[in-house]
């Protein structure tokens, strides 16, 4: 083996020393003297039309410098990584927690007092929490484009014939839950004007995308806006979306003063993306040796009020629905659907963990039906060099999962000596 200066060496992370000494500055650690405190007024209902906002009393609170609503957005009031469907400050509430107004004040207590004095009049719309209800043709549309945001299909071979020839056909239904990323650092940031340049420093996973969306919302040229990612205290996909960036930019631009915002844990839970809950109907067909013949899978992902990374998550769900197994005939359809639930986006695994739960559970049921061990059914179907995936990709270079499977079983026996043999 040749000697490399990085590969094969244990390399200390470059930001490590600053992190263990406490010197690393995360967004909430940035101190800008004279920065105004920003707070967001969020909806307490899930679906409504905004009829009016009265900020007069709130503006009288000493220390309050400005209050902004949807009418104050200088550019196009919508952002989003894939679909531009999320307003920075909304005039139509689509989930409990949608942002309605932004308060800028000299201190936190004044900002909080102002939040309580803003009068919002809403025309309630009936909320849709159930994804199957949202998919009905007569369901009220949460967005103009309708509630079914995207449909991805993966089809190969002849599933219906395979079902007829199969020795076992096992149906199963699976649901998975909404999950909060819960990075230990909540969303935070600062912004200020540097002559005519707006500078936003925030905890984010996506500074370049942030820049495009903030420029759009604020009607700024890209070269008049800088987004600087601060040391970020965990993201796991949840900091790919816009959170505080538009609020910071709007207030700093309008008021010409430095501003700061930090979500508390509750606001971080309420206002930011989640893992998509999935509803999966999965039918698996196999012969009596446990060799998979076909799967038919219908996946519905609840993307909540806004698209975020929903379409991409459901695309990944569709292409990973067969797991790391050879399946000659597939019929997979994945739907990404709007509801009035909190919005769902990217989270570790991006739709794949939900599918693994369904796919692996199905394999256990098939193993039971043909009377072989859970390990054996995986051996008989696992991807090898030369395998074709559901999307007809030929894995012709290196496939390590077979070895991994055996190694995992060996390790399991080691750490759980009472496990017995694989057929137990």
């Amino acid at each position: 083996m040749p000697e490399y200066n990085i590969i094969g060496k244990s390399v200390q992370r470059i930001d490590g020393p600053r992190k263990v000494s406490g010197e690393a500055q995360y967004a909430a650690d940035l101190d800008i003297p004279g920065a105004l405190c920003l707070k967001v007024l969020r909806s307490k209902v899930a679906h409504a039309l905004l009829q009016g906002i009265d900020t007069r009393e709130a503006l009288k609170v000493p220390g309050v410098v400005g209050i902004f609503t949807h009418v104050d957005i200088p550019g196009i009031n919508s952002y989003g990584i894939i679909v531009k469907d999320q307003p920075a400050l909304t005039n139509r509430v689509r989930f409990k927690g949608d942002a309605i107004a932004l308060v800028a004040a000299e201190d936190e207590a004044s900002a909080n007092k102002a939040l309580r004095l803003i009068k919002v009049s809403l025309q309630d719309l009936s909320p849709i929490y159930d994804i199957r209800e949202a998919m009905r043709e007569d369901a009220p549309a949460i967005h103009e484009t309708g509630n079914i945001l995207s449909v991805y299909k993966v089809k190969k071979g002849d599933v219906e014939s395979a079902f007829k020839q199969a020795d076992v056909v096992i149906p199963g239904s699976y649901t998975t839950q909404r999950v909060e990323h819960c990075y230990i650092e909540t969303e935070a940031g600062v912004a200020y004007m540097d002559n005519d340049m707006l500078v936003i420093k925030a905890g984010t996973q996506n500074p370049h995308y942030d820049r495009r969306d903030v420029a759009r919302v604020l009607g700024l040229a890209m070269n008049k806006l800088r987004i600087i990612q601060t040391t970020t205290g965990g993201g796991f996909g949840g900091k790919l979306d816009i959170s505080v960036q538009c609020f910071l930019g709007l207030a700093a631009l309008k008021l010409g003063r430095p501003v700061k915002i930090a979500y508390d844990r509750q606001e971080s839970f309420v206002a930011t993306g989640k893992r998509h809950p999935f509803f999966i109907d999965y039918i698996t067909a196999a012969n009596r040796e446990g060799k998979l013949l076909a799967v038919k899978v219908r996946i519905v992902g609840d993307t909540g009020a806004y698209a975020s990374y929903g379409p991409a998550t459901l695309l990944r769900a569709a292409v990973h629905a067969t797991g790391p197994y050879e399946v000659p005939n597939v019929d997979i359809e994945a739907f990404c659907v709007y509801t009035n639930n909190p919005f769902s986006g990217a989270m570790r695994g991006f739709g794949t963990p939900q599918m693994a739960f369904a796919c692996e559970s199905q394999l256990d049921l098939v193993a039971q039906a043909v009377n072989i061990s859970p390990l054996e059914i995986r051996r008989r179907n696992i991807f090898q060099k030369g395998s074709l995936t559901a999307t007809q990709q030929k894995l012709d270079v290196s496939v390590g999962i077979g070895k991994t499977l055996e190694a995992a079983w060996e390790k399991a026996l080691q750490v759980m000596p009472g496990l017995g043999d694989e057929n137990k």
């Binding site: 244990s10 200390q12 992370r13 930001d15 490590g16 020393p17 600053r18 992190k19 263990v20 000494s21 406490g22 010197e23 690393a24 500055q25 995360y26 909430a28 650690d29 101190d31 990323h181 819960c182 990075y183 230990i184 650092e185 909540t186 040391t231 970020t232 205290g233 965990g234 993201g235 796991f236 508390d264 844990r265």
Partner: protein
């Protein structure tokens, strides 16, 4: 509101301040003393990101009113390195890769320090118990436990490590 005259030692240095008595120890450390190595993660004692050492005990500084620290000694993460040289806990965390996003790291290191002050040769279970009030979402804890084991052995071989 009447001001409270707070005197305490922070990282060995005497501090005297007139403060709003409703402030949390966390607020005084971060907002007044600018010791931002102490983090706020939840504000309700769940996550341990705001851990500091109060006298000899690990506490959540978000659950301690600043006047409760009157006349006492506080150690924060900034108080560990001596003249820019990392202490064995910090060194061990770096070496094993126990630091990822780093947000829980100050609290974890202080939890380790309190543990090893009381129990120089902790078992894995002792370590798990000692950091059970400190949440980490990146590492899965394995590297943190390993870092604390290494810190214990470094501490044993390296003389002159200051006590909290």
């Amino acid at each position: 509101m009447a001001q409270f005259h707070l005197e305490m030692k922070v990282n060995g240095k005497p501090i005297a301040l007139d403060i709003d008595p409703g402030l949390r120890l966390l607020d005084v450390l971060r907002d007044i003393l600018h010791l931002t190595g102490t983090k706020e993660g939840c504000g309700e004692g769940e996550c341990g990101a705001c851990s500091v050492i109060l006298d000899d005990e690990l506490v959540d500084s978000c659950l301690i009113l600043a006047p409760q620290a009157h006349g006492r000694g506080v150690i924060t993460i900034e108080g560990l390195a001596l003249n820019g040289e990392l202490d064995p806990y910090q060194q061990a965390f770096l070496e094993v890769g126990a630091v990822q996003c780093g947000y829980c790291t100050p609290g974890m290191i202080l939890a380790a320090r309190v543990l090893l002050n009381h129990n120089p040769k902790p078992s894995k279970q002792d370590i798990a118990k000692a950091i059970s009030g400190n949440l980490c979402r990146c590492t899965g804890y394995a590297k943190i436990v390993q870092g604390i084991e290494i810190a214990a052995s470094l501490k044993e071989t390296k003389a002159g490590v200051s006590r909290a």
